[in-house]
Every structure is written in structure tokens, then in C-alpha cells.
Amino acid sequence: MDGKPQRRGFHPIYLLLVVPFVALLWVPIFNRLEPSVFGIPFFYWYQTLWTFLGTACTIPVYLYEENKRK
């Protein structure tokens, strides 16, 4: 391969994909009991909730890429 890989300009929407890493790897922000929900400590429901928030971060990036292809 000789040519450089095509660099399509970086769009800030891709930063959304970094958000879950910050939210889930910076452990001190969620390593706590309160506020609890239905008796479930924060540590447990926060991480469980991120299964949906992670999806919410990915969908806009997907839609952006799909639009760009058209």
C-alpha cells in the first residue's frame, strides 16, 4: 500500500463514544451507596443504567455516519 489512508475530517460527534469510558472508568464518581433507588445502591444502578446511556451515545454517531454515506 502506497497512498496514505484517507483521512476524513474528524467530527466532534465522535467524542460521544468517549463519554462512556469517562463515566465508567472514573470509578470514584460511582463507588458510593447513595442515592439509592428502590433500595439498590448507587454503585449498582448507575452502572446498570449506563447500558442504556451507552446506547444513547452511539445512536447519534450511527445516524451521522449513515447520513454522510448518502
Binding site: F21, V27, W50, F52, T55
Partner: protein
């Protein structure tokens, strides 16, 4: 443990009906299974929905259903690392895997090592990647067989067969399950497994949703459940001035596992079987629904503690043999009516069947493409290729069976973590090579891989294979970090440094057969 006839019947009917479905699935479609692309990759034909079932069934293994709640029940908060792990792997799927899918699709690559061979023209490096994939996967298959073993014991199928002159044989049910798995994998390949994964998905969601509704009601609500948990392990311990502590090791386990996951041969087989890039991208936000189920299953570990199943005499034998891995089977038996316990057990049993099949298929693919065809019979016919893969899938399963019979680990999760240390070392050759091929040289990648494998294995040995968090002592700090990540950092440094020297001495290699447009 005595068997409950209702639970046993429901379990056996569901288990064998599902396996039978996989066997006959290929009869319904006219598929040429003597072609490796069909047997081993499902003809790269799976759309969004089937890929969702297949990848979900592939990635969420017996480890999810048995070992994660076992770790939460035994060790508390640290076991929950599986949740951030299985969330963070999806941005990786979204960004990295479509590139790998594209180049594999354009160039006809069946394995990750095929890509490495094409990218760097190095048989040695491709062999290293293929061999790492196989040795990392065998303990992972073993984990699935252990999951089945636990389910059989829980349902009461733990009878011993006394063969005169040979002695007692304990694992007869496991052997039967093994034969079922082997026969349908050999016969139907990835097509059959795709059908079974649909059944698995349905069984798992039914069982999990019922469990998180019924069990908390029986136990008096989540408040009571968490009040019964050990308060010392309900959260992660805090670090000190000179020790980053369990919070850091938790994050390192999440990140390291998320990076390792898509490098596993069975993940790559699942990815390559998808019909398009869009299928993968859509699944990057559809598959987290399985992570939600995983989080609920992890919470079942806390519920097992609150229900007190560990101290009940009827489950004492199961706990004695399997340790905390028996927590979920015991909780299901204790909380559900017999017929639903049978269904839940079938969910775990079939749940182990699907990944075990895909793992052994992917090992067959690796052996055929990167060892047999590369070094033994370069001109073999497609039918031979497929035959060799089928036989090798059987051999890897046998190796895993030996693993289970020879090594009994109370924390099955560590087997998977050890494989994770190894597979992580293929990251530069497979993933970084997608982006910076000109900065990488096959010699550098090979030496980096070697450095990572040696230090990673050494760390696991020094931990007596009992864990995978290694304490680094640097700058007066104690850093407890997932050994795979430590080894990977060293691997990457060596890979780029040696590549820089190699490229400076001999110029950038011209061996790359792929083109920039193959990746988009």
C-alpha cells in the same frame, strides 16, 4: 442431590429440542457445508436480527450466567466489573470492527490471522496470532463445559457410572452434552449455531426477567436484599496515599476485558459472519440489551447471598464441589417452581452450548487457514479445508474437556481472565495494524507479542493462577492493574520501538497486499 422429575423433564426436553433444531436447521436451507465460508462463517450472510442473536449468544457465555454472579456473591462489588466491561466493548465494536470486516470481506479473510498475513506478509506473525487465538480459546471452551457440568449437577444429573474393571466415571452427563455439541457443530457449523442462538436468546431473556421480578418479591424487595449483603464488599475499597487500590483494578479489568473481547476468535467469527458494516454498527447499540440482562444476572449474585442458599443443607454438596459457581443454580432451585427451574437451567445449558460451538468453529478456522493451509498443504481443495476445520473443532473441544476433567477451579472466571491476558497481546497486530501499518513492522509486532505473552504469563504464574490483578510498584506507588493491560502496554512499546528501528534500517515493508479502499 436428588432430581426433581418435573424440572429434569423440562430441562431435558428444552435442551435436546434446541440442540436438535441446530442439527436440522441446515436441512431447511440448501447450504453447501463442505465450503469453509459456509460451515465456518455462515456464508457472511447474517442480517441485523440474526447477528444480534448470534453475537449475543456468542459473547454472553456461561461466564455471564454462572461465573459473574458467583463472583458477585463471593467477592461483592468487584464482580460487577463485567458490566462496564460489556458496555465499553461496544464503542470498540462500532469504531474498529467495521474496518476489519471490510478488509476481510474484500480479501476473503476468514480469520484475524488471515488479515495479519495479508497486511504484513509474515507467516510467522500470522502463526503467532493464530496460535494465541487457539490457546486462549481452549480454556474459554472449558469454562462453557464447566457451566454445563454445574447445571447438570444442579438439576440432579450427577450420577456416577461404575464400569467394572475401569472404575467410577463421574462426568457422564457432561460427556453426553459434549457429544451433542460435537455432533451438531460438526454437522451444521455456524448456520446451525445461529438457529440455536435464537432459542438461547429467548430462553435467557425469559429466565432473567422472571428471576429479577419473582426473586426480589420473595425476598422482600431490593432494600432487604442489599441489607443482607456483606457491607464490607458492597462497594469497592478506597485507595490510600500510596496504593491506587481496588477502584483502579476495577477500572483496569473493565478496560482490559473490553479491549480483549473483540480479539477472541469466536468474536471475530461472529463479526465476519455479519452481512454488512451496518449490521455491526447497528448491533453496537442493539447488543447492550444483553449487557442489561448481564447486569440483572450479576444482581442475582447479591440475591443468592440474601436468600441464604449457601447455608441450606440441600445445596451443600453443590457448593462443596463448585464453590460459589453453584450460587445461581441453587438460587433458581430455591426460588422457582420446578418446571420454571428446568427452563432456567435449560437457558444456562443452551447458553453454554452456543459459545462453545462458535469457539470451536473459530479454532477450526484458525488451524485450517493459518496452520494447515499455510504450512502443511498449501494447495488443498475447499472441501479438504472444510473437513480439516471440522476435525480441528472437535480436537479443540476434546482439549477443553481434558481441561475440565484435569483442572477444577472454584473461580471459573480466572480461566477466562488468563485467556484474556493472552488474547490481548494480539491487539497491536490485529487492531493497531488497521490504522498505522506503516509505523508497524512484522518483526516489531512479533517481539512485542513475545514480550507481552512472557510477562503476562509470568504475572499469572506469580499470582498462582488465582487472579489476574498484578500489583505494580512504581514511583513509590502500588498500582493494582489487570495483568493483560500491563503486558499490553509493554507489548505496544516494544512493537513500535522495534518497528521504528526495522523501518529505519530496511525501509517500510512493501508486503502489504491490502489497499486503503479495502477498509471503508
Amino acid at each position: 442431590m436428588s432430581a426433581n422429575p418435573v424440572a429434569l423433564t423440562v430441562f431435558l426436553v428444552l435442551f435436546f429440542a434446541t440442540a436438535g433444531l441446530g442439527f436440522y436447521a441446515t436441512k431447511m436451507r440448501s447450504v453447501n457445508l463442505s465450503d469453509l465460508g459456509q460451515w465456518g462463517l455462515g456464508g457472511r450472510s447474517f442480517g441485523t436480527l440474526i447477528a444480534w442473536f448470534l453475537l449475543g449468544g456468542d459473547i454472553y457465555t456461561a461466564y455471564t450466567f454462572v461465573a459473574v454472579p458467583a463472583l458477585v456473591a463471593g467477592a461483592g462489588a468487584v464482580g460487577f466489573f463485567a458490566v462496564p466491561f460489556t458496555i465499553l466493548m461496544y464503542p470498540v465494536l462500532f469504531v474498529v470492527m467495521p474496518r476489519l470486516w471490510s478488509v476481510a470481506h474484500k480479501r476473503g479473510y476468514v480469520t484475524a490471522a488471515d488479515f495479519v498475513r495479508g497486511r504484513f506478509g509474515s507467516r510467522g506473525l500470522a502463526l503467532a496470532v493464530a496460535a494465541t487465538g487457539i490457546i486462549a480459546t481452549i480454556p474459554y471452551i472449558a469454562l462453557q463445559l464447566m457451566g454445563m457440568q454445574i447445571v447438570f449437577a444442579g438439576i440432579g444429573l450427577n450420577f456416577t457410572l461404575n464400569l467394572p474393571g475401569i472404575g467410577a466415571f463421574h462426568d457422564l452427563p457432561l460427556l453426553v452434552a459434549f457429544i451433542v455439541l460435537a455432533v451438531y457443530t460438526y454437522h451444521s457449523g455456524l448456520h446451525g449455531t445461529a438457529i440455536i442462538s435464537v432459542a438461547k436468546g429467548i430462553l435467557v431473556y425469559v429466565a432473567v426477567l422472571a428471576a429479577v421480578i419473582v426473586i426480589p418479591i420473595e425476598l422482600g424487595g431490593y432494600g432487604k436484599i442489599f441489607a443482607a449483603a456483606n457491607p464490607d464488599t458492597l462497594l469497592l475499597g478506597h485507595g490510600t496515599a500510596n496504593n491506587l487500590g481496588p477502584q483502579f483494578s476495577f477500572a483496569s479489568l473493565s478496560l482490559g476485558s473490553a479491549l480483549a473481547l473483540w480479539l477472541y476468535p469466536h468474536s471475530i467469527t461472529g463479526v465476519f459472519s455479519s452481512a454488512s458494516r451496518s449490521v455491526l454498527k447497528r448491533n453496537a447499540f442493539l447488543l447492550p440489551s444483553f449487557t442489561f440482562a448481564l447486569a440483572l444476572i450479576a444482581l442475582l449474585g447479591v440475591m443468592a447471598v440474601a436468600a441464604g442458599v449457601k447455608s441450606m443443607p440441600e445445596y451443600a454438596e453443590g457448593y462443596r464441589i463448585f464453590g460459589n459457581n453453584f450460587a445461581i443454580p441453587a438460587l433458581f432451585l430455591h426460588s422457582f417452581s420446578p418446571w420454571f427451574a428446568g427452563l432456567a437451567f435449560a437457558a444456562i445449558g443452551v447458553g453454554a452450548l452456543v459459545p462453545a460451538a462458535i469457539m470451536s468453529i473459530s479454532c477450526g478456522n484458525l488451524f485450517t487457514r493459518n496452520i494447515y493451509k499455510e504450512f502443511i498443504d498449501p494447495n488443498c481443495a475447499p472441501a479438504t479445508e472444510s473437513k480439516v476445520a471440522k476435525v480441528m473443532s472437535l480436537v479443540t473441544k476434546l482439549a477443553a474437556l481434558f481441561f475440565v476433567v484435569a483442572l477444577q477451579s472454584s473461580y471459573a472466571i480466572n480461566l477466562q481472565l488468563l485467556g484474556g491476558i493472552w488474547i490481548c497481546q494480539t491487539l497491536p497486530s490485529v487492531m493497531l495494524a488497521l490504522y498505522t501499518p506503516r509505523k508497524l513492522h512484522s518483526t516489531g509486532l512479533l517481539l512485542g507479542w513475545l514480550a507481552g505473552m512472557v510477562t503476562g504469563t509470568w504475572m499469572a504464574v506469580s499470582l498462582n493462577f488465582k487472579g489476574s490483578v498484578y500489583e505494580l510498584h512504581m514511583f513509590g506507588l502500588t498500582i493494582p492493574c489487570y495483568a493483560a493491560l500491563i503486558a499490553l502496554v509493554l507489548n505496544i512499546v516494544v512493537a513500535y520501538a522495534v518497528s521504528f528501528v526495522c523501518n529505519a534500517m530496511s525501509g517500510v515493508s512493501k508486503a502489504d497486499e491490502t489497499l486503503a479502499e479495502d477498509y471503508v
